[in-house]
Symmetry: C2
Subunit: 655 residues, 2 copies
């Protein structure tokens, strides 16, 4: 199936005021910090035991397994991050550390290729008996992703050998052939990972396995039911097959159901398999599922999965702000899924959602200093209540140093480190270079047989001016396709200062095809007014409220700027907001300033109903007084980096 | 301590269009229905096993105990209801049935006076080892309340003998004396029950025990901690002593904490003990706790306890509408507590809250046909979401035929059956007759040595005209104190058609002292406009919303009248609402009709942001279109008696 080829991060060098410092933070702070976490060296944090588990599995340490059954995957995501970090800039010390990890993995791998510290240490006889819950393939998938990243960065084959032996072991145990278990993983991940391995190596084994896992899922008789019966499982509640998207064959699925991270990881793998196998029905399922998410089940921040229970999608338009789950990993998975669909369809709507999630629901998951994390990303917080109510137990009102289930911190690290790979694509058939994201960078691409360098300069997301300079040793005819952001009402495109004569727009991209000469410069001007966002009326929680967005950035109000009780604030739509770049604030952000009213305590007066008394009655037949108030909004992603307190994305309005 | 004396239900005969049919329903439908429930004779309902447990305890049936540890109390509340029903009107058949129950209880009572089917059947060696959780005193208390009601109705002493022997047993086991356990019950109830027994019999034992239970609660060393240690208890979470109001001595408690039913039952018992022992410090604690509830922790319906977890109070102003717990029993308990405070303080605010709970949060707990019940009383329901989300698991979107924990159905029955006792009080010291509730009735009171009959005629709660006629064989000087409802902005009082010359108002009562002659008639005219209720701005869930109230009735909107998506409706404050009595609707109710707007899908237009597409985008930079809509509100208590669907008490407004 025809698809765009992303320009790999090895070929993209970030030079960006917004993202380059974040990548540096990942390299200099996050990777060392997370290494400490995985080695139980953080003070005041429950030990992770991740590295220890593998040492025990390798027979080099005494002890028992601790942590989640998928604890290994935290290290694998860290190793993947290291791969990306090394691809950006050599770092012999870090590479030596990673090589040591890989050596440990080689020693922990069993003679038959099996590699999983939980089963090797704790339940060696129970391998592959509970694919539904035990994450063996999930962990294998994360190791495969790490292997691809690390090999691409260093060229060292050792980790590829490890995963090849692991994949061969999996192939001996699982599959449709007689004598094998017809299983698949309760937590999808290996599908997309196998596809990365296949694309790297060309080895058909990986494609065959990935396609098998995708095809088998949800087929009758349901494997998880057979497997549970074989285990003699007793459950209080029946297992919800939707939780793991195993309720029906994937091609028949029409709505995004169950655990949100599982869902978008699965759909990503489905898109990969569809692309490689020309599977139109599978692609159609991906399209339907993506549309279902973005038209009915997504927060304005790009967060998905609105229920803490099962970390899951619920029903259409059920998007409570105070009990949003919106797991950081799920927003990251939506980036993965959207990025894959973008390559398949060259439709900017996929890039729009990718960008929305990236700048909002993903980035909110990590503090500005890289050492505190949100697993859950609410859109409204009243700390006293969130900290008290049991039905909001999942919400944290401040970012945490680590988690017992620590999937999110290394996930955000690997996405930020690999961001260079999301900016550009090339369509070799039509000689087109796509610019999906506006991030200052230099990209080396091959177009019409020529090595071309694209130099992007921008102050995005704070400013909509983008300059794209072509650098090539000789002239060449190709097209540049510039994404018109979904939030833009209009754009202006110039080449060498002149409005372009020959361009056309298709699915959100402006295509400029011409003979490009060294030094040619395209400028894209995207006005970035403050926009008021209104939700579909079925989203009852947002009735009478609006959110603020400027460019790709969704805003929020914080108590530290606006005082207590943010729900008492009312703003008038259509007002002129002052957007101002504040260099010293939150690492440099554009803030929005406007005005509104605030419900305040009603003045002393006739007390009706009397039972509630004078002064500050709980209920009264009289409205509160209102007083004028200034309103200041900051980017949602940056919330809770100052004094903790209330926060809200959606603000009441009255016209 | 001086207190008003409620006119007992034996001396009050209801003649009321609103309440008399409800009492008939209790007699003719609810009592037989609940008897079937207790005897496992309802089709399609999990067996209650309540009567069976007692038969097994009496050695008359084989089997094991089933149900909650406090299952006996469901029968005791039923028996109490029967007592009230018989007090209103003789019913030999029902009385014979109840006598049979009492005979069974006598046979189930152990030789030492102990009576509890759970321990007798299931754990005979574990009596009094877990007062915190096992409800032995709670069950005893409900039996005592039943005994008082049944004895007062029938004069038959057998049940009094049973509870006397039980109380004597309790006194041998528990108390401050050496060799006894210094325990008290995890679920308060026995305190108020013992006080009823004391007031009926004059026996000091009951007062002494009640005072001991009140005084001992929360004293260091905490009994529940010692007891748990003695049991060798292991817990995952530490026990929350606030749950049972045992975290500190009751006189030191300043905020209403923990399980809401436990709280208001305790406070009721505290008020009773304070009254009998002239304990000003205890009364002061009651005042503080009552004020804390009504000024920070009560729904506009009189519902209390806003969290399903531990069925508890949470933090001030945390009153979510969709996840309201507002257990029917808690609103009933608030009636009990407020009624007691009313006698002690003669302040109408207590009657206001009693009335608010009664007409709204209590009455909502039972269907109009008496055979379906709400345990949880939300103020906003979106059925698809409530039925799907785990964090709303406690909310039922339709009333249920019975419950595994069936405390509420018999509780509402006993309150409705005993309502006659809540209407009037007498202050013998000042020769004053108080009228607290406007309910058509005849009350026989003794004032200034005269037998006086007060005949009240009214169409309340639908109309604010009240006529009170004095019937006496001779003239007598006394005062009539008429409550001015807290929701009334003004009232007009006439005696024999003339504005009264000599009256004064104090704490919400208009006092008319004069020499009354047979046939004298007081008329109280209370205008009953439709009022808009606004919550304190700290109640963030109600920001930008209002509720409708007319007289004591709080209204709601239902989907069946207003279509789907009630949160899309906006009304303009200050509009003229049409209040209309609809005889054929919901047993006859006044409905409110007005107008507003409704957010509807935005018209096709510029699609920004584009990612959400045209038509019905999830988010857009454009407001929804609005269309005018009629709005119809019905009394909250009557919701969900027609086609189930959405419901909301709080409605968005924009001026």
């Amino acid at each position: 199936m025809k698809r765009l080829l992303p320009v790999s991060l090895q070929n993209v060098h970030l030079e960006d005021d917004f993202w380059a410092p974040r990548q540096q933070l990942v390299r200099d702070v996050v990777v060392p910090y997370q290494w400490k976490a995985l080695n139980d060296e953080l003070p005041d944090v429950e030990p992770s035991h991740t590295v220890a588990n593998l040492k025990i599995a390798a027979g080099e340490m005494e002890g028992t397994f601790h942590g989640m059954v998928f604890q290994d995957s935290d290290l694998y995501k860290w190793l993947e991050t290291v791969g990306y970090v090394l691809a950006i800039r050599p770092n012999p010390e870090l590479e030596a550390l990673a090589d040591g990890v890989i050596d440990l993995l080689a020693r922990a791998q069993q003679p038959d290729g099996y590699l999983n510290s939980y089963f090797t240490v704790a339940r060696p006889d129970a391998r592959w008996t509970n694919l539904r819950d035990d994450h063996e393939l999930y962990c294998a998938g994360h190791l495969m992703e790490a292997a691809v990243a690390y090999y691409q960065a260093t060229g060292k084959p050792k980790i590829l050998d490890i995963v090849r032996r692991l994949a061969e072991h999996i192939d001996r145990v699982l599959g449709p052939e007689p004598g094998k278990k017809r299983g698949y993983c309760g937590h999808p991940e290996i599908e997309l990972a196998l596809m990365k391995l296949h694309r790297l190596t060309g080895d058909e084994l990986y494609l065959r396995l990935a396609k098998y896992f995708v095809d088998e899922r949800g087929r009758e008789p349901l494997y998880f039911a057979l497997e549970a019966e074989a285990r003699g499982e007793k459950r209080v509640r029946p297992y919800n097959f939707k939780y793991s998207q195993s309720h029906q064959p994937v091609r028949e699925q029409t709505s995004a159901e169950g655990h949100a991270v599982r869902a978008v990881y699965l759909y990503s793998g489905m898109a990969d398999v569809a692309a490689e196998t020309d599977d139109e029905a599978l692609l159609a399922a991906c399209r339907r599922l993506w549309e279902d998410i973005v038209s009915r089940r997504m927060y304005v921040t790009g967060g998905i999965g609105s229920s803490a229970y099962e970390e899951a999608f619920t029903v259409p338009y059920d998007l409570p702000n105070d009990r949003a789950y919106a797991e950081t990993c799920a927003a990251i998975g939506l980036v993965f899924f959207s990025h894959r669909m973008l390559q398949l369809e060259a439709d900017a709507k996929y890039a729009d959602v990718m960008e929305r999630a990236l700048y909002n629901g993903v980035l909110s998951g990590m503090s500005l200093d890289g050492q505190r994390y949100f697993y859950v990303n609410p859109l409204e917080v009243w700390p006293e209540v969130a900290e008290h109510r049991e039905d909001m137990h999942a919400v944290r009102t401040t970012r945490q140093p680590w988690f017992g289930c620590a999937c999110c911190p290394p996930n955000i690290a690997r996405l930020l480190a690999s961001l260079g790979g999301y900016i550009y694509s090339v369509d070799p058939d039509t000689n087109t270079a796509f610019v999906h994201l506006y991030i200052g960078s230099q990209a080396a691409v091959s177009l019409a047989g020529q090595d071309v360098r694209l130099i992007q300069r921008t102050r995005y997301p704070w400013d909509g001016e983008v300059q794209l300079q072509v650098s090539a040793s000789a002239q060449a005819e190709f097209a540049i396709a510039l994404r018109v952001p979904g939030w833009a009402r209009r754009v202006e495109v110039r080449v060498n200062g002149q409005p372009v004569a020959s361009s056309w727009e298709s699915k959100g991209y402006v295509y400029i095809r011409r003979v490009w000469r060294d030094g040619d410069t395209v400028t894209l001007s995207i006005p970035m007014p403050v926009e008021e966002v209104f939700a579909h009326p079925e989203v009852r929680m947002n009735a009478g409220k609006l959110a603020l967005q400027r460019g790709p950035i969704v805003y929020c109000l914080e108590e530290v700027d606006n005082g207590r009780n943010l729900q008492s604030i009312v703003i008038r739509p259509g007002q002129t907001w002052t957007a101002q770049y504040e260099e010293g604030l939150l690492g440099g952000v554009v803030t929005l300033q406007g005005s509104g009213w605030r419900d305040v305590i009603r003045p002393q007066g006739e007390a009706v109903p009397r039972e509630f008394g004078h002064g500050q009655p709980l209920y009264a037949f009289q409205r509160c007084a209102r007083e004028e108030t200034k309103v200041k909004a900051i980017p949602y992603y940056a919330w809770c980096n100052r004094t903790p307190g209330e926060m809200t994305v959606w603000v009441r309005y009255e016209s």
